[in-house]
Symmetry: C2
């Protein structure tokens, strides 16, 4: 099955991966170029390197995008949206892979990544919300997932800092969190430790030979070639020039803002708390060091990364509605990033229509959660010539019958997108 | 009259000021040391230098305090508080001095300072606020000050971006603004241009000889001496060790937070707009470059300079209540500073109880407004041996009969002050 969805010549020959774990001579041609050094790109590079491939990662500012702004929730259940059920299996697979992935990464990098198996509570603002949570509870149980309904009193007992008027909560004990910034730093160190080459440069254009991608032209004029290039530039994935139309399904930026608060004294929260306050979703993710990440806005604003005052206001309003005490915390940082959204909100993992180019883009709200499964899927494709079964439903080929509109190969024109701020969750 | 309130030996001999405008040899003993390089300290240094004195200013981080966080309103009328009427004459005197002060400063520094004679509107949230504005209108007219009442429709016509539900406004056409950061930069340049010596060092202790201040001991162990020292360290004025008890009236820090928003396109506002929203005062000060300064919290929090999430929330909430469109602006900066509050909220300008030490502290909400009158008063005292009449009511001697409690010579212990955030205006 996985082999069937691979266009001929899209991946490197598996034979190469069977070779010794040589780093390759300095300056020599790598087996793989990865464009983008966020958590996805670095995850792919690290895992591919562990499979014996030589890898060069190209990024002018590693980890400065969505990997930095994210809150790091690992929440297949509490992040579930109606209509996104196909994603659930992939999200669950990645969540289950996290403990092993983290253990290997902490060993490889020599640093901790702040993986907290703290569980998540979804608070109900009123009785209508509580009814909605009961529906999700039933749905989760039908899938065999662990959830629990908490009364108002049980919620107050578990989270004494929560607001007194909340109607109750849904507990998702298997929805955890990781410190995405520590995760990114550990991936960088692991890549360096394993011999991945990191090139702090901007990719400007695709190098093509016939109908095949053979490398990247960099901003300084350098040309970098390899048998295969993995595209992992998140929302910026459409910004490298020269790809034939239709190769890259539309990936559009969805702006998200998160706040970093800092509390002193005893922790306000010991698990992730989220909820919908008068229609506005909000979450609070407490770190081990007393910080709380609050998120997130969801705005169709093109590539505009400026923090919007109204979004900061709404996040603080809704976070205080769930946990009044956050008003006394220090506002340490306002951060904005761009979620890379595909036409169906699911990632694009695997071969593109053009030989020599693999995609690892479009992770939208789930980039941190999906890092292990994406990294292993692409590393498997590179090393074995086949995608693992669990990723088979998420290849870019699913858009091949959708006509040109969905496969224009460019992100949506930000002038054409209505600038209508809405609120939704970001990862 | 001014001479009468001067303790013997408190000022330098006026004879020195009559000398040539020599800069003094490098490293030589200056006529005056100014501790503190905020707008007050630099204003004093510049004007004293123009009177022919050699001046050294000591500050580890010039302009990083309240001068940086302030909004720069020059608003004797709209800033008027019941019980602070004695201040009004001084505030008016300084406001009237501003055009000349700015012209001389721009000439001396070669830079513009963003002095905008834009007027101020005080919006009424509801009919009760409108009744309060009528009272102020009557009071202002009794003092001969220009004010005008605007109906709801007149307010909307003057400020189309204002919220639709506001009840009306009071126009204070003579309450203006200056860009306090440009003002501070210009004062720095003017000081350098005129030959003031700027020493980037922290003052740690007072040097005393007998009952007289003779200089400052710096953090690196250096001792700096001069016939007279002017203390202008704002809220930190009590932090230099070694002054006998009772010399410095209590100056306590009152934390203020301001926001810098940035708008694009046509300006949202063309005059200062302020108001009280459900009991919370808020102001919006539009700069010529499209920025809007929003302020200010008023918190008794000791020397804690961390931005408080709840204060940012309240400022954004109340600013949007007056001008909904600010929600779409970029939140560029959150800034916190400490207002130096004296026991009666009025500044301390003039001789201290100890010879060799002059005070220019305690300006609370009015530091930017009071810079010209304070600078000229202290320069006059230094050069002529006498305070100008307008400053006579604000010498530290007014607390001499108030007993030891008010004159402990130390700021309030921040542990002892109840940490109760309230809202009030900052300058």
């Amino acid at each position: 099955m996985p082999a069937a969805i691979m266009p001929p010549g899209a991946a490197v020959a598996p034979a190469r991966a069977a070779g010794a774990r040589d780093r390759g001579a300095p300056g020599s041609r790598p087996d793989v170029i990865v464009a983008g050094a966020g958590v996805i790109g670095l995850g792919v590079a690290w895992r591919a390197r562990l499979r014996g491939l030589t890898v060069t990662v190209v990024d002018p500012a590693p980890g400065s995008g969505a990997s930095w702004t994210a809150a790091g929730m690992l929440a297949p259940l509490s992040e579930l949206r109606y209509g996104e059920q196909p994603l659930l299996a992939l999200n669950m697979a990645s969540a289950q892979r996290y403990p092993t992935f983290v253990a290997e990464l902490e060993r490889s990098s020599g640093t901790e990544v702040g993986y907290l198996r703290c569980g998540t509570l979804v608070a109900a603002w009123d009785s209508a919300d509580m009814a909605g949570l009961r529906d999700i509870h039933g749905f989760a149980r039908s899938l065999g997932l662990r959830t629990e309904l908490l009364t108002r009193r049980e919620l107050r007992a578990r989270v004494p800092a929560s607001a007194s008027g909340l109607a109750g909560a849904l507990s998702a004990p298997d929805d955890h969190q990781i410190d995405n910034r520590l995760l990114h730093g550990a991936l960088l160190r692991a890549c360096v430790a394993e011999g991945v080459t990191l090139l702090p440069a901007a990719a400007r254009r695709w190098l093509l030979r016939g109908d095949r991608v053979v490398g990247l032209g960099l901003a300084d004029g350098t040309e970098l070639t390899a048998p295969v290039v993995v595209l992992a530039c998140g929302a910026w994935s459409g910004q490298i020039d020269g790809l034939p139309p239709g190769v890259l399904p539309a990936v559009r930026p969805v702006k998200g803002q998160t706040l970093r608060l800092r509390t002193v004294g005893p922790p306000l929260l010991t698990c992730v708390l989220r909820g919908t306050v008068r229609g506005h979703p909000v979450y609070l993710v407490p770190r081990a060091d007393g910080r709380i990440v609050v998120g997130a806005s969801s705005e169709e604003a093109g590539f505009d990364l400026r923090p919007r005052a109204g979004a900061v206001y709404e996040l603080l309003r809704d976070a205080q509605a769930l946990v009044p005490g956050v008003g006394e915390a220090e506002l340490e940082e306002v951060s904005t990033g761009l979620r890379p959204a595909s036409p169906d909100n699911a990632p694009l993992i695997g071969p593109s229509r053009i030989p020599g180019l693999l995609l690892a883009v479009g992770h939208y709200r789930n980039g941190v959660l999906l890092t292990p499964v994406t990294a292993d899927a692409i590393a498997g494709l590179l090393a074995d010539g086949a995608l693992p079964d669990e990723a088979a439903a998420f290849t870019p080929a699913r858009f091949d019958h959708a006509g040109n509109r969905a496969t224009e190969g460019r992100v949506a024109d930000d002038q054409a997108v209505e600038n209508r701020p809405t609120r939704e969750d970001v990862r």
